[in-house]
Structure formats: C-alpha cells, structure tokens
Symmetry: C2
Subunit: 143 residues, 2 copies
C-alpha cells in the first residue's frame, strides 16, 4: 500500500463520480444511446464488422449488440450482409444514411458538450483535455 496507490484510489473515486454526472448529463441532452453513436463511428473507421466483434469492442453482450444493430437497421443507418466465408456471421456496414447521420451528429454534438468545451475551458485546458483523452481510452480498455 504505497503512497502512489492512495493517490490512485483518490483519483479513481473522483473519476467515478465525475463520470456518473457527465454521462447522466450526456444522456439527458443527447437523444440516442451512447452505444449507437459509438457503433456508427466504429463502422465508419473500421468498415464492415461482425456483431460479435462490435459487442466485444463496445464491451456489451452479443445479445445487446443484436438489439442495438436492430435499432440502427430499423432507422436505416446500417445494413447487414452475409459473410461469404462463414454462413454464421453477419457483416454490418454503414449505409449512406448512416454516414449522413454520423456527419449530422457531429454538428448536433455542439448540443452542449462541444459548447461546454468551447465556453468553459481555456485554450490550454482544451489541450490538456485532449492529452488526457487517450488515457481514459486506455483505462476503458484495461484488462
């Protein structure tokens, strides 16, 4: 139990509390689930992917991802395609509407988070946040 560890506990506690508030706030402002936007962005970057892979990447169960994809498909934002190599797998890809949505969403995010970043943070603070983001990313993927 080193001094460093105490600091880590403190950090972890504060981070947890802040995350809760930020996410509730985001959910309230943002109409659609965090996962939906996240999946669209991932498909845009990674191209067509299987449901199972998406589930693993987003850290949800395959069944939940099935539901998410069903929602996105109903909205016409993604399309399914049978994997020619493996009849069990279904490849998911972004439709044109999905790409448009992704683009529009970038504007909609101006909603408050981008605006809060622009208004409440100084230039140097924004740089600091940008540098801290990859750390959060790594924490979220930590084994």
């Amino acid at each position: 139990m080193t001094v460093t560890q105490d600091v880590d506990l403190e950090l972890a506690g504060e981070l947890r509390v802040v995350l809760g508030r930020l996410v509730r706030r985001l959910r309230a402002e943002h109409s659609f689930p965090l996962t939906h936007g996240s999946v669209l962005g991932r498909l845009d970057r990674a191209g067509s992917t299987s449901i199972g892979d998406l589930a693993t990447a987003e850290r949800v169960r395959p069944q939940s991802m099935t539901q998410t994809i069903a929602d996105l498909e109903a909205a016409g934002l993604v399309a399914r395609r049978a994997d020619p190599a493996d009849g069990r797998r279904t490849l998911i890809e972004l439709t044109e509407a999905g790409q448009r949505k992704l683009f529009e969403d970038r504007a909609r995010r101006e909603g408050w988070l981008a605006q809060a970043i622009a208004e409440d943070l100084s230039e140097s603070e924004r740089r600091l946040l940008a540098r801290a983001l990859p750390l959060l990313e790594r924490l979220s993927e930590s084994a």
Copy 2:
C-alpha cells in the same frame, strides 16, 4: 465556425465515446449504482442535506433521488431527520455504517479502476489525469 470549434467537436465526440465504455465497464465491475456512491461521498463532505439539494447536485430528478435515498436507507447507510426549521424538508445524513461503507468502498475501488490507473498509466500520465479531472468536473456542471 472557427478552427477551434472543429477541434471542440472532435474532442466532444471522442470524450462521449470513451465515457460510454468507461461507465459500462465501471457498472460491470462495481456492484452498486454510481449515484449511490456519489451521494455517500457528498454527504460525507457536506454533512446533512435535503433530498432536493442532493437531486440538484447529482443532476437527477427529486423522485429519482427519493428512490436512491430509500435504497440507501434500507441498506442502513443513511438516516433521515426532520428539518426543525421546515416541516416539509427531510435532512439526510450518513450513518456509521454509511461511513464504514464509504471507507470500504475506497478499498473496493481498487477493483479495477484504481488498479488500471496504477498499472496502465505512468507517473506523469497519472499527474496528467489528475489535472484533467477538474476539467471534466467543470464540464459536468456546465450550464
């Protein structure tokens, strides 16, 4: 629509995605709701507080906070006390068990977040995260 704003949109998008994954991860590892721990911590710092004030601070509806407090009370972690000055208000305070729980929780958080911080981040990265936390805090409280 300045260059800075484009950067903000980018930041906002990435932050949103990362938050989603982190919170799902936290929920999976951590047994109880983020709000519960957050409320206990707040009571510990601020002393007895009304349900409405807690709701405002945590950015949930008073009805939701009523439920949260009912849960915490059922678990013996908080107690109610009538406000001597205003018969409508109920003051909530931490019980001894609540303080113990809060203390234990600090150890439990070693679960993975603190551990991830300790193992996956370097000393300088931890310092960076610590500096970025107040920024996230401010964003979560942005009007």
